[in-house]
Symmetry: C2
Subunit: 244 residues, 2 copies
């Protein structure tokens, strides 16, 4: 039986998911894994066709221990993962350039999660409609009620999959330049250039929609807001039991 | 024979690399592929171990038709790809949230490249030293000459691989909300929230290095600069024949 998906449990560190390099940067706690997953919108989905790996960037969302993503009904990626093939879903953020006084002390600051599992197709129109509304709701709380209702035909044009996370690990680096005795006194500039991803100024679509400023469901997408915070706030507004 | 790697040729669109969904968003031109690759620093490397896909985020750089990445000598990812196993290297940028008046007209703006090939280990200390200096140089032009020289022992601690890109495709969406007749007159806000990744204020490492403002090799990493532009500018300063 799985432990409760309330952010207090941990994923098992198996031969597949255990972080080998710099294990001190790794965590298997649900809380750490969910914090990264709930701050992102684009995942890189890895799958195998005839021994060849493919990595497809795609939008995703999380509910409990499950990840969801979707695409065109004819997508090769979705057809492959929907068969229950093993999948690796990776989410990562670049947080900074670490500039040292020697080559080896250059690095990057980052946060990442690798999640492993097998996906299943959500095929029933009712279940699909509900899940797709959840995706909009998770990004823009309350918005599904404001939208022109999705038709059955539109639902048939998309394929939607759900993957229970079997194992996952989070990994992060968020420090300055390491202090190496051999670098002491070397006269090169050293430090960190942070990298920040933020929401820009909203661009209302000319001649379409209500115009004017974005409605309250879109409030987290305010100009200058950090993208990871925007998405975490949106996830909380939706009611995800996040730990951040 | 491969065509010249000067940005004027194109990669072959094979059953592996051909974009099936929304082919109008795809390109196989070297120029389009390099433009995305040279604007990024983090790739997602896909590889297979015993039928299980793994997707590892890692720093990379490009020279001509070759991609390079590195890590700890004991890295499982590097050990796997160094054996010549098939690899998929994906680079992507999230450029915006597209908010429509119906569920199906919600989308994301993005740029991405999928590159396929097989990697080889660069093992000779001389070749490795040169390649690692190229990586620093490509990010921070002229910087290798300012650094404490890398020791042989440090070079032995890292594994470095080179992958000739056999096939690659670029894909992008960079438009507003699609105009669907069924959505006409629906009173929901619609438009785009751009997403921008920028360099933050430099954080000199206290008590280490020269302090003060960053040196000229670090000029592209100015506060407020767009990350993709920073990396493209750095690539040009290094002398990459980029097309942007």
């Amino acid at each position: 039986m799985s432990p409760p998906a309330d952010g207090t449990a941990a994923f098992a560190a198996t031969s597949r998911s255990r972080v080998r390099r710099r294990p001190q940067r790794a965590s298997y706690d649900e809380a750490a894994v969910y914090e990264v997953l709930d701050a992102g919108i684009m995942a890189h989905v890895g799958y195998v066709i005839d021994g060849q790996p493919f990595v497809t960037p795609t939008a995703y969302w999380r509910e409990g221990r499950k990840l969801y993503w979707h695409g065109a009904a004819a997508s090769r990626m979705l057809a492959t993962v929907a068969e229950g093939a093993p999948v690796c879903v990776t989410v990562s953020f670049l947080d900074g350039f670490v500039v040292g006084r020697s080559g080896i002390m250059h690095s990057l600051n980052y946060r990442s999660v690798m999640a492993f599992g097998r996906a299943r197709l959500i095929d029933g129109l009712g279940e699909k409609r509900e899940a797709m509304a959840s995706f909009i709701d998770r990004l823009y709380a309350g918005r599904p009620l404001k939208l022109r209702p999705t038709t059955d035909n539109e639902l048939r044009q998309i394929a939607l999959v759900e993957m229970e996370i079997e194992e996952a690990s989070a990994k992060a680096r968020n420090t300055g330049v390491g202090d190496l005795p051999a670098d002491e006194g070397w006269p090169a500039w050293c430090g960190v250039f942070p990298v920040e991803t933020r929401i820009g100024a909203a661009l209302p679509q000319p001649g379409m929609g209500t115009g004017g400023p974005p409605t309250p469901d879109l409030a987290p997408y305010a100009e200058g807001a950090r993208l990871d915070e925007t998405l975490s706030v949106a996830a909380k507004a939706y009611g995800l039991p996040v730990s951040t």
